[in-house]
Amino acid sequence: MHPILVRGRLPIYLAAWGPIAGLWVALSAAAGRGWREALGLALPLAVLYAFACLGSWWLCRALPLDWAHSLRITAAHALAGATTSAAWLAVGRLWSRVLAATLGDPAVVSRYLGDLPLLFAVGALLFVLVSSVHYLLISFETSRAAERRALEMEVHAREARLRALTAQVNPHFLFNSLNSVSALTGSDPAAARRMCLLLADFLRSTLRLGGQEEISLDDELALADAFLGVERVRFGTRLAVERNVSEDSRECRVPPLILQPLVENAIVHGIAGLVDGGTLRITAQRIADRVEIAVENPRDPGGRRTPGPGFGLSTLRERLAARFGSEARLEVREAPDAFAVTLRLPARSGHGP
């Protein structure tokens, strides 16, 4: 939509043309022409041209400001200004005849023709002036939209982080773990104590790391390990873990709690559904400027499937998108008997980007 034709801007725009029309009338009158001639010619033609110049907006939109093409853009506007001005003056000539007939003074036309070179130049200039106003409005609106987008993204990121923090400890995991502790208390008090320590270790690192902006992949792996330590007590021999982590990936900075939800999903939706359990595979490697983290698990091909990508995955995807934009990828590979998620993130080591 045309930025001047909406939201009550048109009156302001037309008012801005008032002084121009006034100047024209005053100059004509000063040149000794009658007030009726001066007003009759200047006012309608000024209004007509005010509207004609609005057309430059489409040209501005088609040619966004760009230093590399400044010459081309200037030339295009100059050409459009000259053409519009010429067309306007052609209409003005017809109007001067009408005015001459009305006032009964044929000399109006010739006086008008005498002004033509000046009017043409001023017309072309005014067109270019309106073009620049349009460019101003466009850049103003673009920057406002960008500001809004940035704000939205920030809110989104904050929400995602909050949700991630609240979802990081699955209550079922806690209840099941406590049930295991309760079981061990009777049969194997030493193991019960170990389980309490593992659980405390996991909860403490979750709380500590979850609040940070980014942590090293090594810390994230340790957190996943603490989680797996607890789950291994619950699942016993049903849960096997295989890790393949390259040394150069450990230093990479990643947002906290990106691996843990994947590991938890792999157990809840994969290994826990297998009578004999299976092996969960975690791999991390650095490839050029990216770090690739993958979690793979077997699953029961005849098992029930929860439809959709699942809450954990979509939250993770949102968090990555809010933080890295299109720089991060979350890829899911599904087979009837296996499930794998791969994260590809920009590899940043040390502190700061």
């Binding site: 209840f175 099941n176 079981a183 009777g186 009578v275 098992g303 439809p307």
Partner: protein, 253 residues
Amino acid sequence: MDPERGTLRVMVVDDEALARDLLREHLSAHPDVRIVALCANGFEAVRAATETKPDLLLLDIQMPKLDGFEVLELLGGDVPVIFVTAYDEHALRAFEVHAVDYLLKPVAPERLAEALARARSRLALGDRAPLRSLRDLVAATRSGGRFLERILVRDASRVHVLPVDTVDHIEARDDCIAVRAGGQTHLKPQTLAEIEALLDPARFVRIHRSYILNVDRLAKIELYAKDSRVAILKDGTKLPVSRAGYARLRELL
């Protein structure tokens, strides 16, 4: 409950060894309770329950192969059950299948004692027969109001899990339905109307009083006589199509 000896024969089903251990330990405090089977998954549970006929099931919900509700569906209506789970969101469904109780993990021995007392009084009343209808049971296996994803059938102590995509058609036969899937026919004690209500109507159509068809399997429909048509499936099977059935099919296709 065996009234003469006064013992309560209990079966424990949980996929976690520690959770089974805990229940066994808690149950050992009750001298009238005898554990007749400890099962680690739904298949084992169905087999063991068929063989040992327990008085009471202590049943986990999230398990490999079959979940607790599916185990209950396969065992039919009349075994009293106490659900034992870390998830409180299944309580409503448990109520619908008339569970004796619903225990949350970690399990408190006092709550278990309460649940056992409730089970004993229910058994003493001989209140076994109208515990629950099959319709409630099958309906409860669908979580969150979704359509049935798989049909469970049992012959003797063997369980077949038939994902609905593998089902060609279902036929009404006396008190049973005959489910044709993967080249085999499985009988299940259920009515055609009951199963029809649970299946996705965009994929399964009642084409006749006695037949439900998986529309993916349909090859063509031929006019057989005036007002009577026959559906020819991709594998060549012919099924009768009633007038109302034809209207439903046309609406869908």
